[in-house]
C-alpha cells in the first residue's frame, strides 16, 4: 500500500517554477530515492512534502489523507519527518537534549525512552557522546545525530536530504549502512541524494529528477543499468 503519494505537484519560488508536475509514490517499508543534479528540485520536493513550501497545484496524500491543509508542524505530528540538508543540529544543546527535542510531538514519556534506546543501539557513537554539545561533534556524528533526532519522532516516512553530503568515504559508507539497518527495521524512507551510485544500491526504487520534472522511474537495479543514468549520474563513460 502506498503511504505517500504526490500527484502532479507544482511548486514555485515567486515566479520561479521549481517543480513542474512531480508525481511519485512511496510504499510501506520501501526505500525510494530521488536523484538528480544540483538545482534539479530535490530539496524543493522534500520541503513541499513536509509543508515548508506550499505547492500551487497538485496533491500530496499520506495514507490517503490530503496533507495540503496541514501546517508543517502538524505534518510532523502525522509522521512525515524530514532530516534537513546540511546536518542541522542544535549546536548549543547536548546530544541527549537534541534527541529529546526530536520527540517534541510525542506525548508519552515511556515511549520516548524506548525510542531513545533504539537510537542509541543504531548509533552507539551518540550514546558515548550523550552529554557533549552537538556543535562540537564531527561532521559524521552530526549527521548521525540529525538522523537520530528525526527517528525520535517515530516517523512513518523519513525524508532524508543528502545525508552523505560533505562526508569522507568511510563515513558515507557508515551512513548508508545505517540506512540499510533502518530499512531492515521496516522504516519507510524517501532518500534524496547526489551520490546516485550509493543511493541506487540501498534503494528499492528510484526517480530521476531534472529541472523540476521526473524524467525516469524504475526499480533501483534497473536504473543502475540504465545507460543515460549511468552517463549522467554514475560517472560511467
Amino acid at each position: 500500500m502506498s503511504i505517500l503519494v504526490l500527484e502532479n505537484i507544482h511548486t514555485y519560488y515567486g515566479e520561479i517554477h521549481a517543480l513542474r508536475g512531480v508525481s511519485l509514490s512511496v510504499e510501506e517499508g520501501e526505500i525510494v530515492t530521488l536523484i538528480g543534479g544540483n538545482g534539479a528540485g530535490k530539496s524543493t520536493t522534500l520541503n513541499t512534502i513536509s509543508g515548508l513550501l506550499q505547492p500551487r497545484r497538485g496533491s500530496i496524500r499520506l495514507y490517503n489523507e490530503d496533507l495540503s491543509n496541514f501546517k508543517a508542524h502538524e505534518i510532523v505530528a502525522k509522521g512525515v519527518v524530514q532530516v534537513p540538508e546540511g546536518r542541522r543540529v542544535f549546536g548549543r544543546l547536548t546530544v541527549a537534549e537534541n534527541l529529546e527535542m526530536g520527540a517534541f510531538t510525542r506525548p508519552l514519556r515511556s515511549e520516548i525512552a524506548q525510542s531513545l534506546e533504539q537510537v542509541f543501539t543504531l548509533f552507539p557513537r551518540l550514546k558515548e557522546r550523550e552529554g557533549q554539545l552537538a556543535g562540537t561533534l564531527s561532521g559524521g556524528e552530526q549527521q548521525m545525530l540529525a538522523m537520530g533526532r528525526a527517528l525520535m519522532a517515530k516517523p512513518k516516512v523519513l525524508l532524508l536530504d543528502e545525508p552523505s553530503m560533505g562526508l569522507a568515504p568511510v563515513l558515507v559508507d557508515s551512513i548508508f549502512d545505517t540506512i540499510r539497518k533502518l530499512h531492515a527495521l521496516g522504516t519507510t524512507i524517501l532518500l534524496v541524494e547526489q551520490n546516485a551510485r550509493m543511493a541506487l544500491q540501498v534503494a528499492d526504487r528510484g526517480y530521476v529528477l531534472q529541472t523540476g520534472e521526473i524524467i525516469l522511474t524504475d526499480k533501483a537495479a534497473a536504473l543502475r543499468e540504465n545507460e543515460s543514468v549511468q552517463k549522467a549520474y554514475l560517472g560511467v563513460l
Binding site: 508542524h73 519527518v81 534537513p84 557522546r129
Partner: protein
Amino acid sequence: MKTQPATVFQTSMRFGLIGGGAAVLFSLVGMVEVFGQRTIIGGVVSMGQAFVAIAMLLSAYAAARQLSSVSSSAMLTAGGLTGVTVGALLAALVLLGTSINIRDVFVSASPPLFELLSFGQSPVPGMLLLLVAGMTMGLAAAALLFLSPAMRSTAISVLLAVGVVGLLADLLRIIISQWAYVAPLVEWVFSGKGLSVPGALAIAAVVIGLDVLANRRRNKAHNLAALPATALQKRMRTGALMALLLVLPLLLGTYVSEVLDQVGLYVLMGLGLNVVVGFAGLLDLGYVGFFAIGAYVMGMLTSPELGLASLSWWSALPIAVGVTVLAGMLLGVPVLNMRGDYLAIVTLGFGEIIRLLALSDALRPWTGGSQGIQLIAKPVVGTVVLDDQLKLYYLILAGCLLAGFISSRLRDSRLGRAWMAMREDEDVAQAIGINLVATKLLAFSVGAAFGGLSGAIFAAKLGAIYPNSFGLLISINVLALLIIGGMGSIRGVIVGALVLVGLPELLREFAEFRLLVYGALLVMMMLYRPQGLWPEEARKLEAHGDGDNSNGDQTAAIPA
C-alpha cells in the same frame, strides 16, 4: 600550541600601555576627578586615586599572570614594569596638562585633576610619586600571584570590601545610625566622607575572619564528600532569602528602598525581555513599548484628569496587562517571518512609534500629549494606600516573584523547550514539529505582559507619566542588563539589574558616565565572560566540561 613566551619587556609594555591608556582616558573624561570627591579612607585614599591604583593593579596582575609559566623574577619584573608604565603615562599627562593648556579640547583636564594625580604635590615630585606608586602597585599585584589561592582570594576580598564600604560610606552612615545597637560605632568606623583608618582595619579584620571560617567549613564539607543540598536545606535557604527580602527595605531606609524599587521595576522588565530574547531568541529592541503601554493604559483608566475613567489601580491592572499582551501579539504578527537584524530594526521602530503616539497632538485627549498624565491612582491593599517607596517595594517584590515563578515554570515546560529549539534554529524547530507561529506569539505575549505590569506599577509609583520617560534608552538598558547577567538566566536578570540600575543609583556621581561604563562593561563581558555574570547552571557546566572533547573532535573532523 603556545607560541614562544613574549619577552618580559614586550608583555609589560603591552599591558602597561593598555592600563595606562585606560587611566589617562578615564582622567580626561573626568571620571577620576569626579570620583576624587569621594573618599574611601578619610585622608588616605580617595576614590579617584583608587581608580588609578586599580588600573595599575589590574594591568600588572594580567602581565605577571601571563608570565607565570616563565619564572618568578620575570613575573615581579613584569609587574613592576607594567605599573611604572601606567604611572609614566599618567605622569606624561600631568606634564602635558601643567605645561600647556589642553582644556580647550579636554574640558576635564582641570587643575584639580592634576593636583589629584600628583598627590597634592607640585608637578615634578608628583610625577615621581606616580612612578613610585606604579612600581609599588605593580610589585604588589605580581606578589598576589605568589600567594596560595585561598590567601589571594582573601586579599582580594579585603580590598573589595574596604573599597565598597568606603565608597558607600555616606549612605551606610545614614543607614547604620538608624540601627539602635550599632549606631555608636558610626563615629568610630567612618570619618569625613569615607572610612576612618581604624574602620578600614576593622573591616579588613572582619573579612579575613569570615574568610578563614568559610575556608574551614569548606574543607570540612570536602572531607564529607560534599553532599548535595537536601530538600530541607534548600527550603530553609529559600525561606531565609524571602525573610531577608521582606526586611531589607526596613533595615536600609527610604533612599535605598527607592533604589530597590527601581531595580525591581527593571527586574520585571528584564524577566519579560528575557523570555523574548533569552528564551525564544527574538531580538526585540523596542521593549520599552510594552512598558509604556502598561503605564499609559493605567494612566488613562485611573486618572480623573483626563476624564476617561477613574477605575481603581487594581481594577485597571488586568486591563493594562491585557492591552499590553494584545500589543505584543500585534507586534508579533508582522514580524513572524523576520529574523535577526530585520527583527531588531522593526521592533526598534515599534518602541519609537509608541512613544511618538503618546506624544502626538492628535491623541492628546487620551494620552495627554507632551503634558502626559497626572493624578494616576495608587494601589490600595485593604485600607493601606501604597504611596511611598517602602510600601510599593512590597508590591514590586510580589510582581517580581510572580514573574520569576512564571518564567521558571515556562522555561522547564514544553513551551520552554519549543522556545529553546526556535532560538537555536528556526528551520529545524519547524522540522521537529514546533508551531513557530504560536511559539513566537506566546513569547511576545509573555514578555509584553511582564513589561506591562512593570509599566502599570511605574505609573502608580510616580503618579504622573510623560512620553519622554519611555525612550529608547530603557530598551537598551534592559537588554544590557540581560547581557550582563546572562542571557536566558532568571537569576542573571537580578544580578544584571543590581549592577546596571542599582549601582549607578548608589553612586550618583557615576550617573554622567553611565553610558561610558555600560559600553566598557559590555565590551569586557563579550571578551571575557560572554555567558554573563550568573548564567544558568546547566549551560555553564556543559560549556566547561566539554572543552577537551571539542578540541579532540575538531581535529578528528578535519580529514573528513
